[in-house]
Symmetry: C2
């Protein structure tokens, strides 16, 4: 951030009076521009034991597999956002269930929320941000070719809980970018 | 938003190519400025059955009672944010537990996340944003003088669950400002 979105003049990065963290503050109109974590919302759609995954058509991590997920928009609930992303990325209608994982991606200033979900029918396919969409048995999940560590965490916990017959909420903190894993 | 924070030129409000919602887009450098919901994080601190509440020293809703809560900052987890807000607003050290409520405050473009918590000692007091801080028995909670509907919802569900001996996660959507209740 270099300029004030309210008046167009230059901003400085300083601790405002009464605050304890540096903020972008306009040198002219004095507006304080707070920056906060963004919510990424997704789900693990299941059908007869299989998990629906999307292969990404866009960067970052083009070509790698992920669950349907994306930025939450203003005016929607977490559940609405998760269902919308399933439709956009996998053309898939889902019934959103409980939260499986919340991952604090500290270095990216994001909070990832992953719900359990049921696929409502088999009329899915690749949306514009996906190269392909497919159902995977647990033994077929492409662990080495997953796009993001938060997705790996959520899928692992999802499957652990499913095996144990429970639905719990799991937290994880990620605080620096992962080194890319070598392909095997 | 009137000006681009990257280059200082004017922004328009239009649907970018390949998108489905209008965004603020710079007419000069073409940067798209996405706007997403912000997270407000708080907790219900309990000590020997009593609930800690703060009377607000700042607007909005100055003079009304609330739980310790505030905007999540970049670089922290939901739990860290909830504990920090307890310290800032009530000078209170807490042990953060499970999530009690997630409230989608659609008209404010906020997601409120409320944790259960245990007060670790009785060394609490009013922080700079509070007029006073006090412990309330369930029968003493000032329902008519609570600051926000999300707080009312979270407290109700917290107490319901406590009575039932369970810890569940409750969702609520709020989609327009509440009319102020008359004081009695």
């Amino acid at each position: 951030m270099k300029f004030c979105s309210a008046c167009g003049q230059s901003v400085g990065f300083l601790i405002p009076d009464g605050d304890h963290l540096p903020r972008y503050v306009c040198g002219s109109c004095k507006t304080i521009h707070y920056q906060n974590p963004r919510l990424i919302v997704g789900c693990v759609p299941e059908h007869e034991g299989k998990i629906l995954l999307c292969r990404r058509a866009i960067e970052p991590r083009r070509g790698f597999w992920t669950i349907p997920a994306g930025f939450m928009e203003n005016g929607e609930s977490l559940q609405t956002a998760a269902a919308r992303e399933s439709m956009e990325e996998a053309l898939a209608r889902v019934d959103i269930g409980s939260i499986c994982a919340i991952v604090h991606v500290l270095h990216a200033e994001q909070v990832h929320v992953v719900f359990r979900a049921k696929l409502l029918n088999l009329d899915f396919g690749a949306g514009p941000e996906s190269l392909e969409v497919a159902l995977f048995e647990e033994s077929e999940i492409p662990w080495r070719d997953l796009a993001f560590r938060s997705v790996e965490f959520a899928l692992q916990r999802y499957l652990d809980d499913r095996r144990a017959g429970r639905e719990t909420l799991h937290f994880q903190d990620l605080d620096h970018p992962a080194k890319p894993k070598p392909r095997v």
